[in-house]
Amino acid sequence: MSFGEDTWEMCLFNVKDGFLEGVVRGYKQGLLSTADYNNLCQCETLEDIKLYLTGTDYGPFLANEPSPMHTTSLVDACTRKLVADWRYLRENAGEPLGRFLDYCTYGHMIDNVVLIVTGTLHERDVQELLEKCNPLGMFDAIASLAVAQNMRDLYRLVLVDTPLAPYFSDNLTSEDLDEMNIEVMRNTLYKAYLDDFAAFVHRVGGTTGEVMGELLSFEADRRALNITLNSIGTELTRDDRRKLYANFGLLYPHGQAELAVAEDFDQIRAAMEKCPPYQAIFSRLGLGETQMLDKILYEEEVRQLINTYEQQFHYGVFYAYMRLREQEIRNIMWIAECVAQDQKSRVQDGIVFTF
């Protein structure tokens, strides 16, 4: 990166995106702190949690929730807050920030499309399916997904107009659409999405490219690790597994090659530990403790996301805000579940502290 480009970025970033960066940094201040989490952990009932959250940024969204609280309604209310914030950001974004924000939500869009498609194939009620969709991944034509009776029609009529079209056309043939296991399809699409997103941030370049490159390669590696872990003992072949790894990341290509042939946790561990940043993660993990891996990876992700706020004039903060909010909603869900199920001794296991 040349000095000139850097200066140019600093001079001109605020012209277009300065306002929204300010807004998103303000939103970030509204995230729950460690003290907040400690207080939430003391709650005895869901009502207490609601009461406490009313005093935070979630207040307006929780105020009208009817009294017998459920974990799901609590999580829904919190998600509405994120969606409202996100919508505000998107409406005020110029280019290329707008495209960047869209890219952030494609992951949810893939989930929604897969949800609707499989639901339609099993003749479920479209309205019910739409309610289940993640609101961040909604697009205008989503309801018409249900119209298509077979996968070929689906692609020709509906998907071709969505941003996801290239992922479908480049990676799946029409036979695949009919026969492929839905999870494999979802992960194939996700891989295509990650590759595309990485290419996009690279095109944007500058600090954005740098910061987002790091975040996305961590995401890619984590997915590779998860896919490997979860496919041990299933019918997924090594070649199929290899096809689901994204084409970048710290593990690409040699680590991925090792992951692809790994048959148990120790082999995965050996493959991952060749990469210095992951060696640190795995060294925190005792032998055989696969359960804790998820949490440690979440913690690592949160650490990286928070680091994005150390730099200015880049888009990474928007992505980081979305992911942090999502993690926070997961935390709240975990606390609420623990409280509702009377398992308060486990409550610390699921919380990833942000600040």
């Binding site: 289940k132 494999v184 979860n230 019918e235 869900m333 398992q343």
Partner: protein, 267 residues
């Protein structure tokens, strides 16, 4: 003796025999039913103990299952519909069979795992990108919860059926003990009483007849003595003649009386 609590029967020896037979039958039935009730009660208690144990275990397993569901949701978001859509056939089915306890048919349920490979491989890939392990854990713990649930259902149904059967049996035992048997006993006692009464009547009648006979005999003897006295007073010449005639006449009369009496007197 209460005359109400008995069957209306004609008190005869043959009816007495029938009644005695019925009493013996009732006693036998009573003891058999009592044994059955005891057997049922024993089974009932067994089932009750098992139900309590299973319910306690159920509480624990369910708690663990729902917590693992929370864990799965934590690591992979809401995966409900994904699971819905990848299931086409039931992987656990319940088979009903019958169990026989002392003649009472108890329904029994067994859970049977079906499908196996095809279903497993399809569900095995859920949450491939994130949280697959937790979802599988969740699936496993709910599987064990379902097994318990089926067992509990089997026990509960058996419990209800058994309860009903025990009630019926107890009712029968009590009916035999407190209604049928006393009534039969009363009837037998009544018949015996009546028969005794008849016997006494007969005896009295015989006595009476015998008394009458004696009276007649005495009267006849007195009359004879009178006649003899009168004849002796009339003349001693005709004594031999008269007494000879009178003797013959009397003999004939006595033979007549015996002949008449014979038909009535048994001995």
């Amino acid at each position: 003796m209460s005359s109400q609590n008995r069957y209306t029967v004609t008190p005869t020896v043959s009816v007495l025999a029938v009644m005695k037979g019925r009493l013996a039958g009732a006693t036998k039935g009573h003891s058999l039913l009592k044994k059955k009730a005891d057997a049922l009660n024993m089974r009932f208690r067994q089932i009750l103990r098992k139900i309590v144990e299973t319910k306690e275990e159920m509480g624990k397993v369910m708690k663990a299952s729902f917590f693992s569901l929370a864990q799965a949701k934590y690591s992979s978001g809401d995966f409900k519909h994904t699971v819905f859509d990848s299931v086409d056939q039931a992987s656990v089915k319940v088979r009903a069979s019958q169990d026989n306890v002392a003649g009472v048919k108890l329904p029994k349920f067994e859970s049977v795992k079906e499908g196996g490979g095809a279903v497993d491989s399809k569900l095995g890939l859920i949450g491939l990108g994130s949280g697959g392990k937790q979802i599988q854990e969740c699936r496993k713990s709910f599987m064990s919860a379902i097994d318990l649930l089926v067992e509990l259902a089997s026990l509960q149904t058996a419990f209800l059926t058994l309860d009903e059967a025990i009630k019926t049996t107890n009712r029968r035992v009590n009916a035999l003990e407190h209604v049928v048997k006393p009534r039969l006993e009363n009837t037998i006692a009544y018949i015996k009483g009546e028969l005794d009464e008849l016997e006494r009547e007969e005896f009295f009648r015989l006595k009476k007849v015998q008394g009458n006979k004696k009276k007649h005999a005495e009267a006849a003897a007195a009359k004879e003595a009178e006649e003899a006295a009168a004849a002796a007073a009339q003349g001693s010449g005709t004594v031999a003649n008269g007494s000879g005639a009178a003797g013959a006449q009397q003999q004939q009369q006595q033979g007549d009386i015996l002949g008449v009496q014979d038909a009535d007197i048994i001995f």
